[in-house]
Amino acid sequence: MKPIRQKNRLKPIIVPFITGLVLIGMGFISNRDFNLDIQNMPSLPRPIAEETVMITAAGQSTDAYIIKDIANQLMIHNYFIPQADHLDFEGIKTLVFVAGNSAISEKILDFTFEDEKERVLKLLKLAFEKDLKIILVFIGGSQRRDEETEWFIEQIGGQAHYIISTSDGDRDQFLYQMAGDLKIPITLVNALDDISEPFASAFR
């Protein structure tokens, strides 16, 4: 018969107690503010874009729906077409890309990253040809900064007229430096709730 281990009656209590302490500690650590000590434009001093706006997703994450909802609340006329591949819509003056790659969405909607890249590049080209203003919005935070999303940010940011991002999404200051190099106005907000003001300032 297998020898019975001497059961330490404290172990069933100690281990979950320690696990709980570790999780609470992680919660405190994770909620630290990551305010970046940079010159940050809270909003544009004057509008650079016009309605009507086409809002599309670059990467098909659900973040685009948040921007769409904000636009609706701000009464900004918009077309919301997450998978738009042309700009043949009446009155479009501005193209808003919401960057954020979603592998799940790719699986569900049965397209690949290469397909999405092609679409975004096509839209950028069309926007350039039609002289549309381009706004890059990135609200996914550090969790969304994977390789694919970085590609979208780089491509779109390089041609954008305005960049709005959360500070958590630009911890490495990549966006800030890119905006500085290309002389593109950039607004970094601390919380998602603060997106409305800079977004509205682009139009009004």
Partner: protein, 452 residues
């Protein structure tokens, strides 16, 4: 491990790994539902949709992680059995395989995996198993525990309090957390996550503790069972030994009449006097009768005779060893003692056993005094044997009739046999004892003497 069992294990591993790898593809419609719920929550402002999306996400992640984990556990089980490595090695191997296969699956199906959550969960499961119950080989327990713990920890991925931390870093949890932040539902989601995590985690600990207690109880029962078997064996040996003792004693007692017969036979062969021959023959016959009585009394327990109390006591008295000069035995008879209907040989052996116990008992005084009183008690014959020893401890008294119980390093079968013999002869026996000595009373139902 038998061949058929090995095949079952391999089939189990194959099925679980296959399902674990195919699961995301098989549940595409569920992931679509989750994404739709998140979108709907953002559009409608309904935080409830977000909670539903969270629940679906945790369930799906639990199933696919648990399947993979169980597959790794089964692999560790069969691959290490022949090497007989320690359970701790098996557990580490399970966690390592889980990480490798999980990463492989994420790469193959191109869907990100919450690596840290999964690894922490797997490690916590192994810690639970290691510190609580003994049976790492119990598959159904591992399945139960891993499902509970995975389900508990998956909720951490959708809690906004860990938003910038190591949990919830992949696509769907990030979408849920962002939507929650936008809808100001952080508090609700934190509360829901905690409401699931805490009770599930505690339940899993309780379950493993219960398994541990169950194992301990089983082990104790097995041990007790083995002890009982051993005890029964010892008792049987003691009873056998006691029987041999009785046989030896009877055989020894038979020698006396045999010697008588031999002596008389010699005289008979030398005698020509018919009167003397007649007398010798009668005495030989008497000795043979005595032997026959002794053998019958021993062979046939139920064989009883009507016997006078004095004859019984005298028969017993003749067998008491009296070498000890510090021993004084006195016998006191009442008048008008009733006859008793008992097996003379066995009852005398029983009484002799009581006297021998009194002789062998520890004494405070130099002189051992044993008083045997033979009295009439209502219609019964009472034989009371008292000694002036140190007595029997009060806590031992209830056990003195138990076979095998002894306070003096003996077989402990004596009083057990005595009681049996007394009761077989319709008698009663009881003991009183204190620091001044012990008194054993034996009662037999009396038979009224027929007066002619």
């Amino acid at each position: 491990m038998g061949k058929s069992r090995m095949i079952k294990y391999i089939i189990g591993i194959g099925l679980t790994i296959t399902f674990a790898f195919l699961f995301p593809n098989l549940t595409t419609f569920m992931w679509l539902t989750i994404v739709a719920k998140i979108r709907e929550a953002i559009v409608s402002g309904d935080g409830g949709q977000l909670i539903l999306a969270s629940a679906y996400t945790t369930i799906l992640n639990t199933i696919q992680n648990a399947l993979l984990f169980i597959a790794c556990y089964l692999i560790s089980l069969i691959s290490i059995k022949r090497f007989k490595w320690a359970d701790s090695i098996k557990m580490m191997m399970t966690v390592v395989m889980f990480i490798i296969l999980g990463a492989l699956r994420a790469w193959w199906i191109e869907i990100p995996w919450e690596l840290l959550t999964a690894v922490i969960t797997a490690t916590v499961i192994m810690i639970m198993v290691y510190f609580t119950y003994n049976q790492y080989d119990s598959i159904h327990r591992m399945v139960l525990v891993s499902c509970l713990v995975f389900f508990a920890f998956q909720w951490l991925d959708i809690m906004p309090v860990f938003a910038s931390g190591p949990f919830g870093i992949t696509d769907i949890p990030t979408s849920i957390l962002l939507a929650s932040s936008y809808l100001d539902s952080d508090t609700v989601l934190n509360f829901v996550g905690l409401a699931f995590f805490v009770p599930l985690f505690i339940s899993s600990w309780i379950m493993t503790s219960l398994f541990s207690s169950h194992d301990e109880n089983i082990a104790i029962e097995k041990e007790n069972h083995l002890k009982e078997i051993a005890l029964e064996s010892v008792k049987s040996s003691a009873i056998e030994h006691r029987i041999y003792q009785e046989i030896n004693s009877i055989a020894h007692d038979l020698k006396t009449p045999l010697v008588t017969i031999r002596g008389l036979n010699s005289l008979l062969s030398m005698s020509n006097d018919p009167e003397k021959t007649e007398a010798y023959t009668q005495r030989i016959d008497s000795a043979v009768e005595k032997m026959s009585e002794m053998i019958s009394g021993f062979l046939y327990e139920s064989s009883k005779q009507e016997i006078d109390a004095i004859e019984l006591i005298n028969y017993m008295r003749a067998q008491i060893p009296v070498e000890d000069e510090n021993l004084k035995i006195s016998i006191d008879y009442d008048e008008d003692l009733p006859l008793v209907n008992v097996n003379k040989i066995r009852v005398s052996r029983a009484l002799l056993n009581i006297v021998e116990n009194a002789i062998g008992a520890p004494y405070r005084h130099q002189l051992k005094i044993i008083e045997i009183e033979v009295a009439k008690r209502e219609l019964s014959l009472a034989i009371i044997i008292k000694d002036n020893g140190t007595g029997i401890a009060k806590e031992d008294l209830p056990f003195i009739w138990d076979p095998g119980f002894s306070t003096r390093n003996t077989t402990g079968m004596g009083l057990f046999f005595v009681k049996k013999i007394v009761e077989d002869n319709n008698g009663q026996i009881y003991i009183e004892s204190n620091s001044d000595g012990t008194s054993v009373t034996v009662l037999f139902p009396g038979i009224r003497k027929e007066t002619s």
